[in-house]
Amino acid sequence: MYTEKVMDHFQHPRNVGEIENASGVGTVGNAKCGDIMRIYLDIDENEIIRDCKFKTFGCGAAIATSSMATELVKGKNIREALEVTNKAVMEALDGLPPVKVHCSLLAEEAIHAALWDYAEKHGIKIEGLDRPKSDIHEGEEEEEEEY
């Protein structure tokens, strides 16, 4: 069901953990729907993401996308990090099953939420970054029954 890359990141997740006094923290998803992602960012004065950690409650894809997303944003500056879309995460994992695409969206949202938190804490505005949705599944339709 999962690609080798997904399985690798699931079995050996990168950057699991917390960052004390992180520059920004974002938590998205909800337990009701079975996945919650929390991302910690450590951002230096040049707006470079020096470190990034995550904690995730969720399925194999949720864990793998969290791991991959943290890998992708680490070392990037804020603007570059904003461009790490769910598509980028999926591609880096060699794809996800259709029913798991929402996990990659969750990862994108978690980064955005952490960046938003950073921006708020520092009183800055990051162009192209919207307030995170309180619930990632808001407005998401349950996969339509085919007929």
């Binding site: 729907c33 969720g58 194999g60």
Partner: protein
Amino acid sequence: MGKLIYLDNAATTKTAPEVVEAMLPYFTEKFGNPSSVYSFASGNKDVIAAQREIIGNALGAKANEIYFTAGGSESDNWALKATAEAYQGKGNHIITSKIEHHAILHTCQYLESRGFEVTYLDVDENGLIKLDDLKAAIRPTTILISIMFANNEIGTIEPIKEIGEIAHEHKILFHTDAVQAFGQVPINVDECHIDMLSSSGHKLNGPKGIGFLYIRSGVKIRSFVHGGAQERKRRAGTENVPGIVGFGKAVERAVSSMEKRTSYERELRDYMIERISKEIPYCRLNGDPVKRLPNNVNFSFRFVEGESMLINLDLKGICASSGSACTSGSLDPSHVLLAIGLPHEIAHGSLRMTLNEEITKEDIDYVVDNLKDIVELIRSMSPLYEDFLKKQK
């Protein structure tokens, strides 16, 4: 992969080698159509009759009350849709429970869209329906009560005899989905006042793609599949002779071994339940501890999501299942776990392990040892657990 410990016997079972053995001649040697006149094929008619006899005996039913179908889902659909149609004149109300299999629930929803009314009974925290609720739900228009014999997720065995008596008293037809129970617990259709009963071959070491519906004689439901005159004109289609033979063999096997096998499984089950309860914190046994299928173990682990448990177990060669939404691709966890009152996030962290007679105590120890590590590992990555620990301080 090395060792494989298959703990998903509620999903499907291995077809027993002697069952395959019994089926084989009917593919290439005795492949004739049982409806044919010539002796090469007409013997298959008697072979089918013999399987019907075996199955009827296992239920305290007559052979001619057993109608072969393609599986549990078809049997459930047939029982509900055909009853609705046949007894429409009498009423349009059906009573079932919130923890039925989708083959029942989705069929009920379909019937609701066609003008029928359905009461979905609540269950208590162990998954048992309450007889008083059932009695209160009965209306003059009630034509059918359909309550499963035992639940496929949490293993709870419903008070079928009592339900049957209530149905009988009110002259309402009683159907039970016994897909999980048949072969695991003794069933007598007369004692339990069962009018219709569904079963599926692959749940008791028989082949996939074969099932039956028991229909008490006198129950006036018509065909679900129209066409040829097979199954006493009530279920058309060339008989799946190898499937029927395999099913008969599987039933024979399950019934004759039931006492020994289930007492073995029950012991293992209780050992496993005890170890998990004692050794893994923040867990909950789902389903009734006593009125329970002999091979069912179902736990919820807080702060843990089911699918990631399954994948980690899979990596250790352990096959299990979960009521997590993620395993089904939908967002909601199992309707059964919600019905017994679990909050969503706990329902997501459920694990079902269903044993068979080949599982050993050593296997159980191996599984529990690994499960402990896996739950710990997943919790160490869980933001819910992090929050919980912080609050504890």
